[in-house]
Symmetry: C2
Subunit: 150 residues, 2 copies
DNA sequence: TCAGCATGGTTTCATCTGCAACGATTTGTT
DNA sequence: AACAAATCGTTGCAGATGAAACCATGCTGA
């Protein structure tokens, strides 16, 4: 059986839009939580997530692991700093580089919020059959390999 | 075997980000084409796509079939109008409603560009195994049902 | 009829975003 | 050492975006 992606021109031309819509909808469901409770954007939450699970990270680590570009990291980190959730310091080894750490308050807020975000994600994923979840994970992994921003 | 989505906390917490990244990367590959060649945004291309394959559509049809909201439709249509690719008229039956049509120039440009966009999409999809493509399609369809912006 | 209410489309405003420029720092080359 | 090139982080700016306000039109019920 040939993949039905190819049966109609309409389907695959529209696929990227459906993908974007699904992605946006999923994200939106989660941002609800930390947007409402802490006033954090997606990017800010992402950095907080990474930093809460590490003692410290450099800007390079952050940019790489968050898949945000340097401007996004800079702006999100600035706002987290202003909110007192992280601190930014200049690296001793290379004064161009910043080192970021969670403040105790940042850790506390993260630990408070993380289960709630998790619960939201689970609520959606639980509503899918295991088969569908597996397909989703598999499909997205494959797509990521292929759609790399060359 | 339990779905490995659940094996690590990290993985599913990051799933929405991976989804967003994959979605963005895929889209970017396609926007390249009509962005560079015609200066069209994603939304504009989407409307042009729908209109090129129909004699005319009302704003309601467009909003529904494009999954754009009314503001996005209004702005994209305005720009397409300014570029001479479509025309907007007031409906005779209901003067609140707009009726959109492609101009001959719009049709021409679309027919010129569409194969190139298609080719880009195919290039990525061809790089995936049929099995992966099927999984992707299946997973996204399931996700869309679940993640509806309620 | 006409007074409300609903609907469609546009505009406004405040914010976000991407890109390019910039200053500071480091690295590489001679 | 000294200059050029590369790297990192920030900022300025111009365009995009989302939410709400707004205006015009249509509908409904007294």
């Amino acid at each position: 059986m040939l993949n039905y992606l190819w049966q109609s021109m309409q389907l695959d031309s529209f696929f990227p839009y459906r993908l974007a819509v699904a992605s946006e909808a999923f994200s939106r469901n989660l941002t609800d939580v930390y947007e409402r409770e802490l006033g954090l954007s997606r990017e800010e939450w992402r950095l907080l997530f990474l930093l809460a699970n590490a003692k410290s990270m450099t800007s390079l680590d952050l940019a790489h692991r968050s898949t945000l570009d340097k401007v996004q990291v800079s702006r999100a980190a600035k706002r987290l700093d202003e909110k007192g959730l992280i601190v930014r310091e200049i690296s001793d080894e290379d004064r161009r580089i910043r080192v970021y750490r969670c403040t105790p308050e940042g850790v506390r807020q993260f630990q408070h919020l993380e289960p709630k975000v998790q619960e939201r994600a689970n609520r959606m994923l639980d509503a899918m059959s295991p088969e569908d979840r597996e397909a989703l994970e598999k499909g997205i992994s494959a797509l990521m390999k292929v759609a790399k921003t060359n």
